[in-house]
């Protein structure tokens, strides 16, 4: 079929002027060569971010261990503080103070007397204190001070020496004031 020469058939179709047909096509682009610097900048940026994040993460991890260490220390110190607080509270309790006061020979006086400094007036009737019932008997329980020695039961080392070795041991123990008030050593 295709071997028949084309010429043998007359072309009856009117020829359209093909050239004059308008054709839409994109305007020719002014293509520029991509600049290398952009790529370098972008890649460098990414690398910087990655490195920064890596460093940050390393720092944070390190910080985490540091924080953890401090937290452990904090918990331990908190425990220590609580133990000391408990000891102080027990020593501050009125039972312990009163027991110590009595151990060194003090007794309560049922007759309060006041000395008015402005004119030297004595208010109230001075009466010698008798070691009454209140001084001798009656206990108010406190399981918190069980086993804590009174000041008179402690050795000189515990009262003075342990706190400040420079204080001579002789001044530390308090003895009952039998022959009047002891003269203070300070001037």
């Amino acid at each position: 079929m295709s071997a028949v020469p084309a010429m043998s058939l007359p072309d009856f179709r009117p020829r359209r002027p093909q050239r004059e047909r308008p054709v839409l096509r994109p305007a020719p682009e002014r293509r520029r060569r991509p600049r290398l610097s952009y790529a370098v900048t972008a890649l460098a940026g990414i690398a910087a971010i990655v490195i920064a994040q890596l460093l940050l993460s390393v720092a944070m991890t390190e910080g985490a261990y540091e924080i953890d260490g401090y937290k452990v220390t904090q918990v331990e110190l908190g425990r220590e503080a609580q133990v000391l607080r408990e000891q102080i509270d027990a020593l501050e309790s009125p039972q312990f103070l009163a027991a110590n006061a009595e151990a060194i020979g003090m007794v309560p006086n049922a007759a309060p007397v006041y000395l008015r400094l402005s004119d030297g007036a004595v208010l109230g009737l001075p009466t010698a204190a008798a070691g009454g019932a209140a001084a001798a008997a009656g206990t108010v329980a406190n399981s918190q001070i069980a086993g804590v020695p009174l000041v008179t039961e402690q050795s000189a080392v515990e009262t003075g020496g342990a706190v400040d070795a420079a204080v001579p041991a002789g001044t530390a123990p308090v003895s009952p004031a039998s022959g009047g008030l002891p003269t203070p050593a300070t001037h």
């Binding site: 133990v83 408990e86 309790s93 006041y114 918190q144």
Partner: protein, 603 residues
């Protein structure tokens, strides 16, 4: 060629349908996981990766008027072991090499050895602990949890930790501590080992004191359990309980308790209460109850002694009540301190039969004399001058018959024996209520009535709590400062003067003297109902009074139940003296030096 194309098209369609179906299934699953059940999965993931920890919202402190801590919350520890792991065999422990201290060697420790070590730290025997392990394993061979002991202190906890036994664990357990022991123990109350309030202000003020535990979750590294930074998330904020401030002064409270305790021991009494109240404000500065509970170890005394009898144990007040009747009579304008009666040993008005505590002839007494001699007949003759309705109303106004403003747990209202309508049918009750029998009051109510007389007839609301300071600093429960006039100022003053004569001329004048001070006081030796309509053989002896009488500052009210070795108010007088002098000393109340007014006792 046409047939092939149709087949192809069919295949294409079929593939497309399958493709769409598969994509649809995936999409559904995606939506299901990412949207519908996202929360559930997130939570599950969080559970696996994160650990949540309790942040303790500690129970609030109870402090006294000067800020001394009476109760606070401390961390204690429970010691727990795993029976299964304990019986799994011995373990190796690294100990310093005796040959070269710089190195460590592994020493094998058997279960028995470890139990013995643990026991010596906890004050138990090793056999006890091994017994616990075997007991739990006998019940359940997979048993993984058993308490060895609860609530050990920090020192013991650290020693247990130092043992480094792999099958022994510790758990935090916040606990309550009372650093001042039994000081105010009956008022403060206590909590049970699980932290639930049981008695006293711990119970009454639970709403103020209770904290709320919070929760924080954080991600941890698997290897060394270090918190991953930025992963902390507060699930629930912890809230600390409020600080409860009392009107009590702990030093004074101690001193008062001690005085009361000593006298209970000396006289063989069943119990005693001592109440100290500020006259101008109605604040309770000390309320001692003997026997006293140490809230650290409440089980050390019987359950009936763990409350505060000053609030919860009503009693027939006896002669201390005569001051109230006298105040009523004077306020009604029916008598004054010098009004006169003839008081015989016995009178029988209506069906009543009233007699005095000792036999005497007819005595020509003034109202002051009736108070000094504590004459029941004389007081009845004055008391009947006022209508029962008026007397009853005055009693109510003095604060009797209802619980005080404190609202202590199990506080008793007292019993006024019905009131005038009931008294009218029973002459004995009508007259007995004039001298403090046939009705009951609490120690707090009597102290409050004396406060009214001392404060010019104005009763101040009784307060024990000075406020609740919340975590954010807001203060609630401030006590009211509005007083109520019960009797006229003149009636109060005249009653006060008569009580001063009782103090100066009464039979206990020597026992309760506080040199230099003007004091107003009245004793009572009341019979105690035996619960079957009669009276017991023992007495409740009491003293109530205030000082300085010329400018009253403090009320002290002492009640001692059945002091078998000294069954009279002589047992309570030294307590009154010691407590009152301590109070005056404590608050630097200076005596004026003015003489007490003279009032005739007889005519």
């Amino acid at each position: 060629m046409r047939g092939t194309s149709r087949q192809t098209r069919r295949r294409i369609v079929a593939s497309a349908v399958v493709l769409v179906a598969v994509v649809g299934v995936f999409l559904t699953r995606l939506v299901d996981i990412q949207v519908v059940r996202a929360e559930e999965y997130n939570a599950a993931a969080e559970d696996v990766r994160s650990s949540s920890e309790t942040v303790y919202g500690p129970r609030g402190d109870i402090v006294d008027a000067t800020g001394v801590v009476l109760a606070d919350t401390v961390m204690r520890y429970d010691i727990v072991l795993s029976p299964k792991q304990a019986r799994a065999g011995s373990f190796d422990r690294e100990t310093p090499d005796p040959a070269d201290p710089a190195k460590t060697v592994e020493v094998e420790v058997t279960t028995e050895q470890a139990a013995a070590e643990l026991g010596s730290v906890l004050g138990m025997s090793g056999d006890q602990i091994v017994g616990t392990i075997d007991e739990y394993l006998a019940a359940d061979p997979d048993s993984d949890f058993a308490y060895v002991t609860k609530l050990v202190d920090t020192e013991t906890y650290e020693r247990v930790r130092a043992l480094d036994i792999p099958w022994v664990y510790t758990r935090e357990h916040p606990s309550r501590r009372y650093p001042n022991g039994a000081v105010g123990g009956n008022l403060i109350g206590f909590v049970d080992p699980d932290g639930n309030s049981v008695a006293g202000l711990e119970l009454a003020q639970d709403a103020c004191l209770a904290g709320e535990d919070g929760e924080v979750s954080r991600l941890r590294s698997l290897r060394d359990w270090v918190t991953i930074p930025g992963s902390e998330r507060v699930v629930k904020h912890a809230r600390a309980g409020g600080t409860l401030k009392l009107t009590i002064d702990s030093d004074l409270q101690y001193s008062v308790q001690r005085t009361a305790e000593a006298q209970v021991e000396a006289t063989g009494a069943e119990w005693a209460t001592v109440t100290v109240m500020e006259v101008k404000t109605g604040r309770l500065v000390a309320v001692a109850d003997v026997p006293t509970v140490d809230p650290n170890t409440p089980s050390a005394i019987d359950a009936e002694n763990r409350g505060s009898r000053a609030f919860t144990a009503p009693f027939e007040p006896g002669s201390t009540f005569k001051a109230l009747t006298a105040a009523s009579v004077i306020d009604a304008g029916q008598a004054d301190p010098t009004s006169q009666v003839v008081a015989p040993y016995r009178i029988t008005p209506g069906n009543a039969d009233i007699n005095d505590s000792y036999v005497h002839g007819d005595e020509r007494l003034t109202l002051t004399g009736v108070m000094i001699d504590s004459s029941n007949t004389g007081m009845s003759l004055f008391g009947e001058r006022v209508s029962d309705e008026q007397r009853y109303q005055d009693m109510l106004d003095f604060g009797l018959g209802t619980e005080s403003e404190v609202g202590f747990p199990a506080e008793a209202p007292g019993d006024l024996h019905g009131g005038p309508s009931v008294w009218a049918e029973d002459d004995q009750t009508k007259y007995a209520t004039m001298f403090g029998q046939g009705l009951t009051t609490t120690a707090i109510q009597i102290a409050s009535a004396y406060q009214t007389i001392a404060n010019g007839g104005v009763r101040m609301p009784v307060s024990l709590v000075d406020g609740c300071v919340a975590e954010d600093g807001t203060v609630t429960q401030k006590p009211s400062t509005e007083g109520r006039a019960v009797i006229s100022e003149q009636a109060a003053q005249q009653t006060s003067q008569m009580l001063e004569r009782v103090y100066a001329d009464g039979w206990l004048a020597k026992q309760w003297e506080i040199p230099g001070y003007r004091v107003a006081a009245k004793t009572g030796t009341a019979q105690v109902p035996d619960g079957q309509g009669g009276y017991q053989s023992g007495y409740l002896v009491s003293v109530s009074g205030f000082a300085p009488a010329d400018d009253p500052q403090f009320v002290v009210s002492v009640s001692i139940m059945n002091p078998v070795k000294m069954n009279s108010s002589a047992a309570s007088a030294p307590v009154f003296r010691d407590v009152m002098s301590q109070v005056l000393k404590k608050y630097r109340t200076v005596p004026s030096g003015a003489p007490a007014p003279e009032l005739p006792a007889t005519w």
